[in-house]
Symmetry: C2
Subunit: 433 residues, 2 copies
């Protein structure tokens, strides 16, 4: 009967100070996304297992997901990611005006070993454009991402957005003699390159890809669209051309942080075109802060017409840790009340309550003392909480419907009829809420 | 491989229109709670089973919860309510300045048969004051609740807050000859009275309470603190006196919607004092929109010093349905962009992207056309999306770095150099974000 004071390992538990920072970050994200016309949606935490089996990739669902059988005998999973839910929602609402720009802040679940920046319950920002196969859509979601980073104050060079393309990879892998059934596996191998020691990775890649391993490694090292090796192996007039056009759109959007990197593969099976990651260039946060890409065949699996899509998921915790390593503190709400309401004795409590309500009705925040201890103690409390003014309700104030206001920044104090006090506070503090 | 387009029954799935309403409601709630100095926190969705076994009540945990064994062999539960998590967090942070005013918007889970206003996954607003046993704290959380309803536009008389006290119930049940081990059961019986047909309830109550059933029913019908029957059975100078004082504080706080009702018992085991519900007086929404009360022994079970608490959970869905039956539509974000950016042909796409970014940098929202179809079609789209202006990027605009602006409210159109256009839009539309 004395459960541990700690939550389960890797779970999300935010005390008010941490929550204020996260909400401050979320407010910046929302403002940027709204400036592009994104609308917010939400979906279920519990989903049928099949939803993720279809397209997310087997490692995620079979090895890392929270799965169980519910009381009705259904095989369910706590969503490890949001995109399949989004795709189902879009498929279920065929009259949605397209292109649709949708955003959400889902909490997701993966059973992994907790470590810095990797937890089992995490909140993401998800941002997707559905119903357009234009490169302008791919460029726009990356512009949103870059706008968020700039909005949060991340300086140029502190992060980089790296993009590649699954179509380009397919063109090159085909020219290397790999059959298309092997492409997914080759991508998975490229995806793990940065996560394993070089020797270990090479041995593993050779085992899987045989003679093609070396060329696959060479491909994954391409970081310029003008790389001659790459140009020889890509399809003429194919994806390399489109990526050049894409780079031009990113430039026009003022995105200076993005560059081509064939080593970006992403772990999810459903991507079909551009894929990208946002990385900490400082190296203190090794996991990608954000990953995304184009998934043109996902909505179609729910029946109805196919709807192309492109978007990303941005981890709120990895983002917060990244900003901390930069020494950037996004200010959440201050938590400081405009007024602390002190009460002389229980007899004045009703008057204190009434006066506090009147002050709140002017758009100000009032922290009411709930105990009627010594006034000196209440003043100390007001000071500790950072109140701009302390209002005192004593016997004389109660009988004449006034309050005594003390300026906590060192000004004097004065007793005013309530109406006068309200005018004074409104003038001095504005509507803070 | 074609999963159903529907989510599992009773799950939370909000398309942008519904989400905008819910976020509009949440914004009002936050504003009211902030005016009282509440701070936001968040906790885990997945919790150890023991956390709820201890105090929530066995029906909730054993019959209605989503329980499973995780990959590490732990018996876990998807939280059916937030208060035990809150209590553990407070117990785990003994240096938290008291009283602490904490709020949260948790999504919770209960496996019940879905029906109107009752779902399996639901979002609540939770609002609690910890570290004060003053009646002023109980009155304050009810003032917050009433302030929320008024802030949402619910007219007087459309809802009522009913409160009782577990201490008063104990005084009366003791005077009726019921031993204290029976009190919890008697409260559970009172709690079910409004949920069963009268005859069925009476038969069930008699079976459990024997000869005391009739008196328990009589008690549950008391709706005035001046009820003579009640005064004879309550302890002299006891809880009845405190409830009178409590009524005075509610009156001082301007809460006109609250009244005493001994039929309010609440289903959770951990309540120790005042309990309350918010009900739809119109009767179209039979479930309580909100329930809460005082729980002075909950934090202490985690070890450390005991911390008294009082608070409530407000169901966001039941609240939304209630507002709908009143015809009240809380406006969320409009979703209308300030500017729709139309593009003449692919050659002008980079200029359109650059100009759109420049407009956004002035705090305005721009919905960019991602396709370069006929301009007449793009103007129709701009109109359908409710844009205030349409900006056109054509060949001449691109070459001279200008845009053509069309006032969608029927004004004319003009071509302006980008800088002039930005000034014009800023003056006309202000910073909307």
């Amino acid at each position: 009967m004395n459960p541990a004071v700690k939550p389960l390992a890797g779970m999300r538990q935010l005390y008010p100070d941490a929550m204020a920072v996260e909400e401050g970050i979320a407010a910046v994200i929302r403002r940027v996304a709204l400036s592009y016309g994104f609308e917010e949606y939400d979906g279920p935490v519990i989903e049928p297992l099949e939803l993720f089996l279809a397209k997310s990739g087997s490692e995620l669902v079979m090895e890392q997901s929270y799965r169980f059988t519910d009381r009705g005998g259904r095989e369910v999973v706590l969503r490890p990611e949001m995109t399949p839910t989004l795709a189902r929602m879009i498929a279920g609402a065929p009259d949605t005006p397209m292109p649709a720009r949708w955003m959400s802040f889902p909490v997701c679940f993966r059973y992994e070993r907790p470590q810095r920046g990797r937890v089992r319950e995490f909140r993401q920002f998800n941002c997707d454009i559905l119903g357009s196969d234009s490169l302008a859509a791919d460029a726009e979601v990356i512009a949103v991402l870059d706008g968020i980073m700039r909005g949060l104050g991340a300086p140029p060079g502190s992060y980089s957005i790296r993009y590649s393309s699954r179509r380009l990879a397919s063109e090159v892998l085909t020219s290397l003699g790999l059959e298309s059934v092997m492409h997914q596996q080759a991508l998975a191998i490229i995806d793990r390159k940065s996560k394993l020691p070089a020797d270990e990775w090479r041995a593993w890649a050779s085992e899987r890809l045989g003679g093609a391993a070396e060329a696959v490694e060479r491909f994954s090292c391409c970081s310029s669209l003008d790389d001659g090796w790459l140009a020889e192996r890509a399809a003429p007039g194919g994806e390399l051309e489109r990526l050049r056009e894409f780079g031009g759109l990113l430039g026009a959007a003022g995105v200076a942080s993005a560059s081509f990197d064939a080593g970006i593969a992403r772990g999810l099976d459903y991507y079909t075109g551009i894929v990208f990651e946002l990385l900490d260039t400082g190296g203190q946060n090794r996991r990608a802060i954000c990953g995304g890409g184009r998934y043109d065949n996902l909505v179609g699996i729910f029946g109805g017409k196919p709807v192309p899509g492109v978007g990303f998921g941005l981890g709120m915790l990895t983002l917060r840790l990244f900003l901390e390593t930069l020494g950037l503190r996004v200010s959440g709400r201050s938590g400081r009340p405009d007024v602390f309401m002190a009460v002389f004795s229980p007899a004045e409590l009703p008057w204190a309550v009434e006066a506090a309500e009147a002050i709140r009705s002017r758009g100000l925040s009032v922290l009411a003392s709930l105990e009627c201890g010594k006034l000196s103690k209440q003043f100390r409390e007001a000071s500790r909480r950072g109140a701009s003014f302390t209002a005192v309700a004593g016997p004389e104030e109660a009988s004449e419907r006034s309050i005594t206001l003390k300026d906590m920044s060192g000004g004097g104090q004065m007793r005013l009829p309530l109406e006068k006090a309200l005018e004074f506070l409104e003038t001095r503090l504005g509507g803070s809420l």
